[in-house]
Symmetry: C2
Subunit: 411 residues, 2 copies
């Protein structure tokens, strides 16, 4: 079996970290100067690895093996959160590069086709998982018109500034690929808490959201009697607390729900609030549970509405993600490699966070693998993983990739 | 009995309105150029009415009758909210002036002593009811050091800009006064809703507040399971909703409570909130009910604390006002005059809002009278009252003042 070069792996990860480094973190949002510097650096490393490399018109960097298929596509995203950690995305991108190199360097696997990819804007400066959505043909032509970031900078301008306006835009070659593999840090505490070294993802959980809007009557908090009030906050507290009481009754064992955005207006202690907003977000591996949560949330709002205080309206959030199943066969190979390298200290697990594999699973079989995050911290400068976990993860990943490709070419 | 001059009353109110007018409202916060212009205008009207007038070092304008006591002090405040209505405070100030003139013009009452006053900064640019607090000797010498408004302008500078640094500061002459009378718009809907023309206040309700602080653990809303969460918002919703469920069980018939200030941090739909704040404010005429609310709020917080999620701490708000009882004898005179002028369309009622009379009741017997507010609107440019109600209110007020003074001088 192929051997990864641990020193090269760690050295490449550190070099990528240095592009946009701030303290222990990285600031490299999609299409920033540092992001494009990282993409050009990756392109040259793909070339050094013998891959045909290009940056496409949307910023995706593809390193294509000169071997014919069946091929495996391996990678993740190289853009970061506005104040991101050094491994979120970067780990999977460098794993893809290292696996391509390791297989090319081994006589038993050098005939196999591994393509490496660094996708663009997973972190949603403009559009979440924009690179994978575009690569999979899931965006309408001209989708970029009118898309702006939170500072009002347009995607069209960002692409122009990056010098990509004229660059061809790649779309996935569904004939060539037998699947897509992505590695990622867990971004949660489960592996670490359970003393495990690898997680093989069976499903990326689905996500939905509901925005509750409460309209009441703003009034003086001293002179307006309780019976005459239509207090928007009172209705909000009832909806929110009732959701926390009722959701467990229909939840799955890994369901989560969060009401993290609240706005009570005008927000003064002496004024009866006339307006309020509450955003509920919930995730589960099963569409049935997501449907049950949706129905229950609407029912709770209706019941509070009937009380005749402030009126409640509900609107489904713009963001809605269906649960994404990972491919059974790819899981089988990842699990076998994980078992071999960890003395069976691994598990099958859902992914609570979304990833590019969730998009690409619409068009290709996908496999997603986690390594432990120290203290479960992510989207933070403090994000980190132990070097031993990083190296072991790449060994598992390379073995799984080799066995998947060997099975496909000899099977 | 004395007769007020309705035309002069309305004309003075409109002239005062014109100083700092913006649309239908008034912008005349304490010590602003317009506020000082209004105070100088009042001083000259006090002088025209035969009163000895001065603006003291804190901005209070006093017009002292040349008659010897027993005297009645009548007035309110002439400063406004940052975007205030035209009658809040102004009504009571012009009533004081008009009553002084009406009594001076009538042969049966011209020997009586009515002093008129326009107090400073009731609306809390620097310190709520600062003028009445200072006038009653309730502020420490040098209290103004370090006091700033919301824009960081110091009270010391504001007094200097107003040219008052060297002006003597007046304190109430407790020997001279048999009481203080204040008239005010209701700022609530009760009189209008009940078809009443005058409210005689028996108590200015007390007010307390509690700030709840929730400390949990900020986390990724996808990867942190419900059982492992310490969600600050979840604890907040439970405390708030439980308060709304439990407070009615210990409330009086006019108790009010409000939770109008909420802060959930960091406030993103995908992040489990690690920190939250909730401010509860409650009012009642009885200290016993305020005590019961306080105890219950702390008990609810303790119970949520015991659940072991986010931790809750409680702190009593800086603002705490004891219920202020109005004087029985002054109420009796106001009630008799109200009855005579309204065909018995008046009522005794508590004041849900605070007023200078609440401060002055610490040192003098006080009487407080309301006229109806159109739609109960106040602290808003739209604040208004019908002219017939304004005129009738002043007639009631003048009759009550005359009978109080006549009783005191002949009794």
């Amino acid at each position: 079996m192929p051997k990864i070069n641990a020193e090269r792996l760690i050295s490449n990860l550190r070099e990528l970290r240095s592009i946009g480094a701030e303290g222990t973190g990285v600031v490299r949002p999609a299409f920033s100067i540092k992001d494009m510097e990282a993409r050009n650096w990756l392109k040259s490393l793909y070339e050094d690895a013998g891959l045909e490399a290009q940056i496409d018109g949307i910023g995706n960097v593809l390193g294509r093996s000169r071997n014919s298929g069946p091929a495996l596509l391996i990678g993740s995203h190289s853009d970061t959160q506005p104040t991101g950690g050094w491994l979120d995305g970067a780990l999977g991108v460098i794993y893809g590069l290292e696996v391509a190199r390791a297989l090319a360097e081994d006589p038993t696997t050098r005939h196999l086709a591994v393509d490496a990819i660094a996708l663009q804007d997973e972190e949603s400066r403009f559009l979440g998982c924009m690179g994978s959505h575009h690569y999979c043909g899931l965006l309408e032509p001209g989708f970029e018109q009118g898309v702006v970031d939170k500072d009002g900078i347009s995607l069209v301008d960002a692409i122009r500034e990056a010098g990509l306006t004229e660059a061809p835009r790649l779309q996935v070659d569904r004939e060539r690929y037998i699947g897509f593999l992505e590695a990622h840090i867990e971004q949660g505490p489960h592996l670490e808490q359970d003393g495990l070294q690898i997680g093989v993802v069976d499903v990326i959980v689905g996500l939905r959201g509901i925005v509750f809007t409460f309209e009441g009557q703003q009034n003086h908090a001293g002179t307006t009697m309780m019976a005459g009030r239509r207090d928007a906050a009172t209705a909000l507290y009832e909806v929110a607390h009732t959701i926390n009481q009722e959701f467990p009754k229909v939840a799955g064992d890994r369901s989560v729900w969060t009401m993290g955005r609240v706005n009570v207006s005008p927000g003064a202690p002496s004024i009866v609030p006339g307006y309020a907003e509450l955003e509920l977000q919930f995730r589960d591996r099963s569409e049935d549970v997501l449907d049950a949560f949706t129905a229950l949330a609407h029912k709770i709002a209706e019941e509070v509405n009937k009380r005749g205080g402030a009126s409640v309206t509900t609107e489904n959030s713009r963001v809605k993600i269906s649960p994404a199943l990972m491919d059974d066969n790819l899981q089988k190979h990842l699990s076998a490699a994980a078992k071999a390298h960890t003395s069976d200290h691994w598990q099958t697990m859902p992914s609570g966070a979304f990833h590019d594999a969730g998009v690409i699973s619409n068009v290709l079989p996908c496999g997603l693998m986690f390594i432990p995050s120290i203290d479960g911290i992510s989207h933070d400068f403090a994000e980190d993983s132990f070097e031993a976990d990083i190296i072991r993860g790449c060994e598992v990943f390379a073995d799984a990739a080799a066995s998947i490709l060997l099975e496909a070419t000899t099977g």
